[in-house]
Amino acid sequence: MRNLFVRESGNYKTSYSDDMKLFGTTGAKVKALLIVLIVLTLPLVASNYWIGLFTLCAIASVGAIGLNILTGLTGQISIGVGAFLGVGGYTSAILTSTYGLSFWIALPIAGIVTALIGGLFGIPSLRLNGLYLAIATLAAQVIILFVISRWDSLTGGTAGMVLNRPTIGEFSLSSNTGYYYLCAIILLLTILYATNLLRTRTGRAFLAVRDRDIAAQIMGINLFKYKVMAFAISSFFVGIAGALLAHYTMIVSPELYNFHVSIEYLAMILIGGLGSIFGSILGAFFITLLPVSLSSMIDVLAAFAPDLYQLLSAFKDFVFGAVIILFLIFEPGGLAHIWINMKKYFRLWPFSY
């Protein structure tokens, strides 16, 4: 057996199937296995509080990967993610609480309904790009949230709805650990799907559309089909994330899905790295944990200045904005790019090149 720590030192692939392998070396396989093992054994070592945070991170990662498929891979800007999360959450809430369906049926339906609505709002993308599309998605956000908060008979209006945690047979996933496993498994499946999507005709078409949509059209890519498809696939994952989030917090209400949420998701993929799946996950963890770490920082500082608590939310906004700007200026490639640079450095390590 070869040494596990041996990394590829160059590109020696001789066939297409070699090139397309998901795990090129034994090392890559072992690494993937290790990551899965760490994810699954985490609850044994981490406290309940941290498991809850990791669950939120995993849910955000699913949504961020979804958004990255749209914005990073296909180049279509969407600042209406918050509303699509809401559509997913509300669909699941209505199906489980009002109609008494099982969570396991409601979850995929939530994804599909969000995908349909996302595809519908994706239709303008055929004629619009860049700024105009961004504003169209913002309009989608405002309109969807208005419908949600006014359709009292279906959604409970501004008061929102209450949900339950899912059950498997007799066993309820009401503990943080149980729900963590559910979210972690869905995240792993999402990663697998997104990685594979990149290697298919569809994924390559997305990249072509991102780089120059008119050129892609001339090369025979059906713009309408692929743009709407990108919106639908992306919204599917955002919807799933919304449903998972709704069942985690066990409540849905319109203000949980406002413009700020959309911005947070955009920040995740920008700070993580546009078009990178690993980056989406890093970004999701970063943005989800940022307010938590700020709060604990304030907790420490509050010993000296008790007024600080009133400033907390404003301070979070301030730091959030500063972080976004600093990343855009100094590391536009995002966290994923930092990670790649680190790997490059260690690959050649005692030598500089």
Binding site: L128, L131, Y132, A134, A139, R150, A314, F315, F320, G321
Partner: protein, 294 residues
């Protein structure tokens, strides 16, 4: 009929302020092709400065306004220099995100410095409403209308005749050509951001006089987006006329349809209009069409 007229007049005056704030968007879009989503924060920082100068330092309104405008110009310059210029050549999503980040940062700063309570301006304009044929107009509204019309004329002349205005148009049209003709594009960008920040501050002071001042007022930055889309992102005239149209439609919809759906239509109607416009006429009423090339 009086109700209709009242709605119409309210729409016109609200629309005039929309037009003013939209002007800030359009100026920046014309010069640098960026959409400044932090415009809402530009709108509220100005009046806060003005208010502090007037209440804490007892400076008369006119001088306070001048100082505010100078401060806003500096703010615009600093923002352009520190945030926008480094990412000038980045993709659209990065520029949008940078301005969103900026809005979060400035909004957070405003919150931290001035708190979240609503403050009222000391009365600057006469308070007694004017009654014209049963329609009631507050002088503030009238003033904001006059200011907007005045600014519209000024800017039209500015873009047509002044050297700076022509340079701005040239840079907006083709940056590289402008560069090769020896124009300082950096200088033009900086000037654009300064002017946009000043216009936003004027709008903010007027708005602060009408509604009082609170950090939530920055939401106007988003409310005004439909206006610029309707008028066309790169048209000054479009911003003003779009402002009037959106203001009127919003108030009519609010007045007549709100009872049917239970309120809140005012915030949604503009965005419905946006979707329709984007579907039917993506470049707005007065926007210039761009030919797409591979």
């Amino acid at each position: 009929m009086t109700f209709f007229l009242q709605m119409l007049v309210t729409g016109v005056v609200v629309g005039s302020i929309y037009g003013l704030v939209a002007l800030g968007f359009v100026l920046i879009y014309r010069a640098s092709g960026a959409l400044n989503l932090a415009n809402g924060e530009f709108v509220i920082i100005g009046p806060y400065i003005c208010l502090i100068l007037m209440t804490a330092y007892k400076i008369p309104f006119f001088y306070a306004l001048i100082i505010t405008l100078v401060f806003s110009a500096v703010l615009g310059l600093v923002v352009e220099r520190l945030v926008i210029r480094p990412i000038q050549n980045a993709p659209v999503v990065s520029v949008i995100m940078a301005t969103i980040g900026l809005s979060s940062l400035l909004g957070g700063a405003v919150h931290m410095i001035w708190g979240h309570q609503t403050r009222t301006f000391p009365p600057v304009f006469p308070q007694t409403p004017i009654n014209i044929a049963g329609v009631i107009i507050t002088p503030v509204y009238l003033w904001s209308f006059i200011v907007v019309v005045f600014l519209l004329v000024i800017f039209s002349l500015f873009f047509k005749f002044s050297k700076m205005g022509i340079a701005m148009r040239a840079v907006a049209d083709d940056r590289q050509a402008a560069l090769s003709m020896g124009m300082s594009v950096k200088y033009v960008y900086a000037a654009t951001w300064m002017i946009a920040a000043v216009v936003a501050a004027v709008g903010g002071v007027l708005l602060g006089n009408i509604n009082g001042l609170s950090p939530t007022m920055s939401a106007i930055g988003l409310t005004v987006l439909p206006v610029v889309i309707l008028g066309g992102l790169d048209s000054v005239l479009g911003a003003i006329i779009g402002g009037f149209i959106i203001g009127i439609l919003q108030n009519l919809a609010g007045g007549y349809l709100d009872p049917l759906v239970g309120g809140g239509l005012k915030d949604v109607v503009p965005f419905v209009i946006v979707l329709l416009i984007l579907m039917l006429k993506p470049h707005g009423l007065f926007g210039s069409r761009r030919i797409e090339r591979v």
